[in-house]
């Protein structure tokens, strides 16, 4: 009777025909929890691919949302925080949005599941690609669903992530800015761009202590 079951098991387990009985039994031990996870959580993995920053054709979306008021942060909806990094002097490689330039905007947004966030960014740095995903991973964020592609000659990335600890989106945002700055500096970067990256982070850090003019903006 058992032999029949073992034979059946060999048929449904991949490569089950060749292995010993104790190895054969190890397979479902490994696969069952994974398969159960898929059935439980797969429907939660939704990615629209819609961006808050840039459309598929490469047109900037954020410029419609920028208002004269807060130069350093503003809200999109009630949950997300957008921090375009604004530089007063335009380096030749930055792109303009109206009279202000916006470089490497990053969005970190809380999602409905605990510890899950949406991270979206638009990056000028062409030498980075998978490195960005690696940075995200290194922050203790599992990439549940991530997509990265070039749009309008920049790298657009959107990650649905799950943190391995309680962490605020502000912490994630600031870490990302610092790491991107460091990584970009390490690569083949034009000198003025590196300087401007530093300027960007400085102006952000300074601005972080100032209240926004006009509208209320919750950071945490």
């Amino acid at each position: 009777m058992i032999q029949d079951r073992v034979k059946e098991l060999r048929e449904i387990v991949p490569n089950g025909a060749m292995c010993s009985i104790d190895a054969l039994f190890e397979r479902p031990i490994k696969h069952m929890p994974f398969l159960q996870s898929v059935t439980k959580h797969a429907d939660k993995l939704k990615q629209t691919g819609e961006s808050m920053i840039i459309s598929k054709e490469g047109g900037l979306l954020l410029k419609d949302n920028l208002e004269g008021g807060a130069k350093w942060a503003y809200e999109v909806g009630s949950q997300s925080m957008v921090c375009p990094i604004i530089v007063e002097d335009l380096p030749p490689w930055a792109y303009e949005v109206g009279s202000q330039s916006m470089v490497c905007p990053i969005i970190v947004e809380d999602l409905n599941q605990p510890r899950q966030m949406l991270v979206e960014m638009l990056c000028e740095e062409r030498d980075l690609f998978l490195e960005i995903a690696d940075i995200i991973r290194g922050l203790g964020l599992t990439i549940l669903m991530g997509v990265m592609e070039t749009r309008n000659d920049k790298i657009w990335a959107q990650f649905v992530v799950e943190a391995n600890r309680d962490v605020t989106r502000m912490e994630i945002f600031i870490s990302l800015v610092r790491l991107l700055e460091q990584t970009a500096k390490g690569g083949t970067e034009p000198v003025n761009a590196a300087d401007n990256n530093t300027t960007m982070v400085h102006s952000f850090h300074q601005a972080a202590t100032l209240p926004a003019t006009g509208r209320s903006c919750s950071l945490l």
Partner: protein, 262 residues
Amino acid sequence: MYGSGNRSSILPWNSFNTLEDPFIFHGSSYYGDLFNKIIPQFPCQDHNEVQKMMNSQEIMDAKALAASKSHSEAERRRRERINNHLAKLRSLLPSTTKTDKASLLAEVIQHVKELKRQTSQIAQTNPLIPTEINELTVDYCNNEEGNFMIKASLCCEDRSDLLHDLIKTLKSLRLKTLKAEITTLGGRVRNVLFITRDQQQDDDDTWPINDNDNDNDDDQMQYCLRSIQEALKEVMEKSNGNDSGNSGSIKRQRTSNNNIHY
């Protein structure tokens, strides 16, 4: 169990150095205990001495007994392993009242079949979900503008240095990524990468030259696909290194420059 010359693989009768010689004891061993039991008044010091004391039949008997003892030990351990697996399987089943092994196995089979049915339906609506076994496909594709690209899809256990290894591998092959889709679920991850030659890095001609010889082109292209496939296979299989048959994966902490601080 003994007598035939073919069994010398159990006791290498012909190749003696002091470490392998069963008659010279460096610590406790089956042979040591065995011989000391058989001939207690003559603790064995020397191979030659012992050979003089026992005739070849007694030696072969002793060999066989030792071998069967170690064999039954191994058997016992194996049965223990199997029973542990069965207990673990029982704990993984959503609900089971069966206590006998045959019914337990039947329930496991049933459950796995049902899970696979459900997940393959899910996979149809979401092809990015990772598979339960490692999977690698590498093939050519065209993008919207008709440019040549390679699409590589890799499914394996998630680990913190996986992306690092992918980056390193692609760099060594002088490839760059145009698009990436990453999906992690249940501790496994699928990486779909659209890659192409990195013009900046490319000094030699590692990619097909545009000449009229179509056969040569085909060969070169197949060679490219194969090298990429082999390199990515290595990355994928490295994920198995952590797996000792447990359902959880051991997450290694990278030495991190990425600590969050203001």
